[in-house]
Every structure is written in C-alpha cells, then in structure tokens.
Symmetry: C2
C-alpha cells in the first residue's frame, strides 16, 4: 500500500466533525511546511479508504482547502499544494512555539463573530428530514422524477399559501405563488416580469445583495432615507420610482418595524399610479420577541400592488434552496404571458420533502424551538448589553436575529470595529450597508447573535466591554 | 367515520401507479356526473388514510386534477369540483355506452405521441438513487445543510470537468464550471455576464425555448438559415451578431451534426472580433448511433470563445435540476466581478448525490443502458420506416432521440399531422420550430421515439402508414 504523505489522526469522540478534522490536519500540515508547495495529495478516494470515512467527507475537506487557497485541483491529475508566497506562517524550525501563537492569533481574529446573517443549525431535525426523504423516495416513481410545473408543485404552493395566511396574514391563492431556487433567482425572474428600465427605490441602508441584483438588471436605483418609522414616503414621492423594495417587518439592517401608519402611506403611494409596485422582502419574519407582530404589508394591500417574497433558507436551512414569491394578479398575468415557459428551478423531490416537513407539523415545531432558542439568546444579549446603555443606544431588538448599537461618544465605526477585532470580536459596521454616505451620522454597529452559543455571547460581550467601555 | 362521496377501488396489481388510479377515478367520477359542481372533496389527509396510501400520492392526484381544471383548491377550505360549462361529456343516463366511446376517442387522440422531448425513465436506477441519498443523509451534518459555493461544489465541478473531458473533449478547469438549476437559469445568468443589448444569432429552425429566453432578455435575435452542414457562416457574417447560439452535435430539431469544416469556420468567425462568443448547447450529446462522434465545439476552440452548456435533465431525469455551463476565462472574470454574489440555485445535498452517482460509476452504467435502449428503439423505428422511403426522405438519424421525415409528395405539414392525428398518432411539425416562414419548403415531420415502447413504435408507424402512404 502506498504511503500517505500526511498523517491524519481522526478522533471520533471529538466535537469536530470528521470533515473539519481532516481539513484542519491538512491545513496545519501545509502551514507548518509538512506538505511542500506543488506536492500532490493522495486522491480523495484513496484517503477516504485509508481513513475509513466517506468519499464525500474527504471531498468536502479538499473543497474547503481549495476555496481557501491552500490546495489547487488540477483536472485529471488531482490535488496539489498551492504555491503561495508567505504561506508558511510558521518557521518549521521553531514549530512548537510559533505554531501555538499563530493558532492563537488566527483564532482570536475570528473567535466571536456577531454575524447578522449566520443562523443556528444546532437544533435542525436532521433525523426527521432524513426520515421524510427516505419515505418519499420509497414511494417515489417516475412522476416524482419528472419535471414539475413551472410555478412549483401545487401541493407545496397550497401548503405555503396556508402557512403564509396563518403566520403572516398574506392573502393569496396557490396560483399566485411561484416557487424558485432562492431569492436571487426569484428577483431575476421578477425582472423578466416587471420588464426593463424599472426605476427602483430602496431603503438606505439596505440589503446590499438585492441592490447588486437590481444593478445587474441595469435598473436605475434611488436610495430613500429612513426615519424611525422606516422609509420616508415623502422622499419617495419626490422620485419617479416605479417600484420600492422594502422590508417592513424588520428592516435589514436597521431592525426598524414599520408601523401601520407608514405602511398605509406606502400602499397609498403604490395605488396612486398605474404600474407601481412594492416588493416586500419578509426575510426573517418568523422571529419576533416583543410587541404584537404586525402581519405582512401584503396583508393590508387591497389594490394588488405588493409582491411578497420569503424564503425557507433562513427558517430551515441555507441548503434548502426554496424561496417563494406571491404575485398580485396584474403581474401574475404578465408572468404567465412572458415567463410561464421558464422551467422550475426546484426538483419535485425537494418540493415534496419540504411539503411533508411543513404539513406534518415539523416546521411549526422547529420554528417554535428556534423562536425559543433565539429569544433566549436575544434576552441574554440584551441583558449582557445593559452596561452599554450609557455609551450606546440599543435598537432594532423587537424581532429578527440582530440588534444595533449607536455610539453616543462620537467615535467612528472604524475605530470601534477595530478595537473589537483586536480583542477577537467581529462586529459589523452600518456604513457597509449604507448606499449614500451620511457624514454626520453617529457610529452604528450591528451585532447578530443567531449562530453564537450563550457562552460565546457572554464572552464576546465581555470582550466588547473591554474594547469599548 | 365520515363517508366518502366517491368510491375509489385501487388495484395494486395494475400497471398504473396508485396516483394515476386515484386521478383517473376522480376524473371519471366528475366527467360522468357522480361528483357535482362545487362539491367538496375529502381532504387529502382523509382520503390518504381511507385508501391507505401516502399523502403525497393523493396530493399529486389532486394537483393533476387542479392543473387540468377539474378541481379547484380553495385555501383553508379544500378541494372543490370546478364549475365548468360542458364538462360532462357523458350523459349520466346513458353512462355505460357513451362512457366507453368517450374513453376510446380521448385515448385515440393521444395514443402514440412521438414527442421529441420526452425521455424513457423506465430504466432509471431509482433504487441506486435512493441508496445514495440515504447514505449521504446518514453522513450529513450541518455542512451539508449550509449554503454551498455560488459556482457549485468543487467536488461536483471536478467530476463534471473530468466527465466532459472524457466524453466530449471539453477542455476546462473546474473553476470554469458554473452549476445551476436548469438551462433556463443558466441562460438568465449568462445574460448578466454578457450584459445587455447583445445581438444573438440563432439557427433557424431552433430550440424555441432558448429563443423565448433571449427575447425575455430583450436581446435582438437574428435567425440564420441552415444548409446540410448546419448554420450558414456566410449568412452569419452578413449580420452584426455578437453571439451565436448553436447545437453542433445534433441540431434541434433538424438533427444535423455540424462537420468539422463548418465548426472551424464558425470558430474563425468568433475569433475575428473582440467580444464574440458561441453558445454551444450540447443538449443530447450522450446519445449517438452512427459514425464517429465528434467532440464538442468547445474542444476545438483555442481562443476561448465558446460557452458550453449541458444538463443532466435529459441524461438522468428531468427532476434532476442540475445543469452546467463552462465559461471561457474572459467571461469567467466578468462572472466573478458582476455575478459572483448570486447564490447557488442547487442544494449541496443534491450536488453530493449527483456527484456520487457519477463517481461511483452509476451514471456511466445508466448511460450505457440508455444508449442501448435508445439505439434499439432507433433501429426499430428506422426499420419500420423502410417502406416510407419512396414518399419521405428520412434524416437526422445518427444521434439524439428523434428523426425527421421530409415529404416528397408536395403535401403540407398540417395535412400530414392532421391525418396522423386522426389515426391516433401525434407527430410534430417543423413549422413550429421555424422562426421565419419558408414557403417553398417541403413538409417536414419530427418523430421522437425515446418515450415509446417498441410495441408502440411499431403500432404507431403502422397507423402512420395508413395515414400517409
């Protein structure tokens, strides 16, 4: 048997997955010079056999190393160590000592990441998902493997329709729902429905990705300032925007919940002129902690001016590439005429799995669990931040998975983020979400808590105290 | 227990699936008036329990009935029989007799469908697919449920890269491959990469859906006539097209394989001017029966002017919403700059299943089986069509899943298709694929054979003999 150029010792008892263990072993081996530049790695098949793990596990470890630039994949040759200048952060001669410190410093930089987009997958009912998948495949016949309806399977659309009515007050029929592989795809499809040269108004700050999608659709975009109730309809009126993209439930990233008065103003704006629409991105409406939850904007729309978009990527798992868009009838007609021929981007199998997951009550149960979990983290974070109130205004905390800290001391976002990073905490700067510079604005930092453990939240906030108070 | 308003007798021994049996029972019940307009059907859950079948089976039957207009789904109320004028084709009083004849005539109209797009799913290794899915889910952890790389998982891209090199001579690195949920989506993404106002040239006749996608991207499209070697590069030169969409392996629907000389001409055209590209849609290259298969056009491209697009929907199953696009480096750079933020439309789980299906040799084995199956059907059809040679020219039969019949008797396509339909055979008219009318052209009919059984092919051709000879 060929000898492996690396020695990997897997620890089945470890908290880390096998994939992480393999990935870290190879990465460390490269970093400490145990694997040389241009050295060929064993094939994934060979390594999997040698380690008695699945091929997928090794593929994932190799994939991660390639995407981080440690390895390169040469087709039909295999994986090779990249030739990168300065890769060896550790002098192999002083390995022991430096290795330790390099690890510490690299870990420090990422130790407490208050990411506003990450979610907690700890409670995801993998076993249930697997069971449903298995059952569906047992029943599956060629129908299941055929191409489904372009809009998505009626069964799933009916289920989503019911869920949206109950949970978000959305008024629609299953025929108004279009299922697609992610919000990005649905926005591309919406472009085809709305047509070209549509002038879009967006809240500022906003979800930058949506902006980039509108930009790549060559839509002219105007940014509208926000007050404490959300987008300024007064400013919106001064533009010739035809469509406004808004997040009324829990604006990203400001966390503002738009009150009913502002919603009615906004709906009035849309109804005043033929062809005006509001795109309501209800991205994390499943999670709210304080106050009576307002139904969706779509629920108050009596003129058919709202396009409602939601996703299961946030509430279930990012890998569930299933989002949905509720079209008003005027746009549904246009969709059928102009875009009805676009094939569905979601397989019937995946749609059926999700449908059963919801219908059999697992989704509701999982949401309840996650609501409790996130509320606990939210309350914990808010408790820990009590000492911050003199120095910061804390806002946006009635819903969603992140809160906002506004500095009262005249410091800059850069200064605060840098000080945090030096203690090993990553926080997010509001300026990265602002489209137009707001010079006089006080520094605002965004703290997401969904993916951190309670201990990490406490430790992270302790470090922020040292950095900021 | 509540009594069901319908009596459904499932026959486990029947050739028909349970879903078909339920669907047909209810449809017949509605047609013969046993279920009245606006009558409520039992809930899917209730019916599933009563019939001892899975919920999905009933959902599918109901879904089919809704999409055909027999039922309507009223949210939170259930399924109701539609109020459609003239729905009752059978007088309930004369049920026995008329029922029989109505069934006959409706079956006749669709009995032998020589569809050029349908495929045979009979040999699909459902058990293997299920086994792989199960194994992957056993290993699956939160990594598998996370959002993968925008371009697709490296492991699958590497596998596709190897497959394309071996099977189609495609020269590329995994980093050039973008995985997406179907060709339609990839063409939408390509629009974002190529930019706006791109003048596209297409073969005429062509794949109408691709045309509709270009149209919905507002691309000006020019149709280029074809000779026996494919698209006329001479005519192409007379346009100011920047991009040409071609199917060199087996043009759809003419079945023409572009010889190497024409390919080189086409590549020369693309290389002559900055920013020209060829989109090569290699939609059914897996299946060829006669002559040495030419590698892809991309294989001969030394200047990086070809965008190669392929799919697993045809070779594996339509439900596998996984296609791939190989970008030349010039467009890859643009993709990364302009579109790198678009999230992947395919879940990591589905990518991993497909990857193992290919890597473990099942794909190759399945392809070999399907090649044999389709070749058998192809040879059978060609044999059956022998008697047609005086009346028709038969062409396009060296590859793919359909052949062409060109009438020598001066009849019209309408006349021939109508005569076929009257005997219960559906054939496809070339004029439905032509973009510009070709008045002097002889009538051409398209016969796809992939989804028909050998018996159906023989019986169908027998009926065509009666209709046409």
């Amino acid at each position: 048997m060929k000898e492996l150029p690396i020695h990997i010792q897997l620890q089945p008892e470890s908290d880390k997955t096998l994939y992480e263990q393999i990935y870290e072993s190879i990465r460390e081996e490269i970093r400490r010079g145990g694997l040389l530049q241009n050295e060929k790695l064993p094939s994934a098949r060979f390594l999997a056999e040698d380690l008695q793990v699945s091929r997928t596990t090794v593929d994932m470890a190799y994939g991660q190393l390639v995407s981080e630039g440690y390895l390169e994949a040469r087709p039909r040759q295999g994986y090779f160590v990249c030739a990168v200048e300065g890769l060896y952060v550790i002098d192999p001669l002083k390995q022991g000592e430096k290795h330790e410190s390099a690890q510490k410093s690299s870990r420090k930089a990422e130790q407490y990441d208050f990411s506003p987009t990450a979610i907690d997958m700890h409670f995801f009912p993998y076993a249930t998902w697997k069971k449903i998948t298995k059952n569906i495949l047992v029943d599956a016949n060629s129908d299941m493997f055929s191409l489904g309806e372009p809009q998505g399977d009626l069964a799933l659309r009916t289920t989503i329709c019911r869920y949206l009515h109950g949970a978000r007050g959305v008024n629609c029929e299953p025929e108004q729902i279009i299922i697609g592989a992610g919000n990005d795809y649905l926005l591309l499809l919406l472009e085809k429905i709305l047509g070209r040269h549509v002038h879009v108004a967006m809240e500022d700050p906003t979800y930058v990705k949506a902006y980039r999608i509108f930009q790549s659709c060559a839509y002219p975009v105007t940014f509208i300032p926000m007050d404490e109730n959300g987008i300024s309809v007064e400013c919106l009126r001064r533009t010739d925007a035809q469509v406004a993209y808004v997040m009324p439930s829990h604006q990203y990233p400001t966390g503002i919940s738009m009150p009913i008065g502002r919603r009615m103003e906004l709906l009035k704006w849309a109804a005043e002129k033929e062809g005006r629409y509001l795109i309501e991105d209800d991205y994390d409406s499943e999670f709210r902690y304080k106050g009576k939850p307002l139904p969706s904007l779509q629920a108050s729309d009596s003129n058919g001016n709202v396009v409602y978009i939601g996703t299961f990527s946030k509430a279930i798992a990012p890998a569930i590439r299933i989002s949905y868009m509720v079209l008003p009838y005027s746009l549904l007609t246009r969709y059928r005429q102009e875009c009805g021929f676009y094939s569905s981007t979601v397989s019937r199998i995946d749609q059926t799995i999700l449908n059963e997951f919801i219908q059999d009550g697992y989704f509701e149960r999982y949401l309840n669990k996650m609501r409790k979990c996130y509320r606990m983290k939210h309350d914990l974070l808010m408790g820990e931040l009590k000492g911050f109130k003199k120095t910061f205004r804390i806002s946006g905390s009635n819903a969603g998975l992140h809160v906002l800290l506004t500095d009262r001391m005249g410091r800059s976002e850069e200064e605060l983020a840098q000080a945090a990073q030096e203690t090993g905490v990553k926080v997010y700067r509001m300026r990265d979400f602002r489209m137009e510079e707001k010079k006089e604005a006080a520094a605002m930092l965004i703290l997401g808590y969904a993916s951190l453990s309670p201990e990490e939240i406490c430790e992270g906030v302790d470090l922020l105290k040292k950095a900021w108070l």
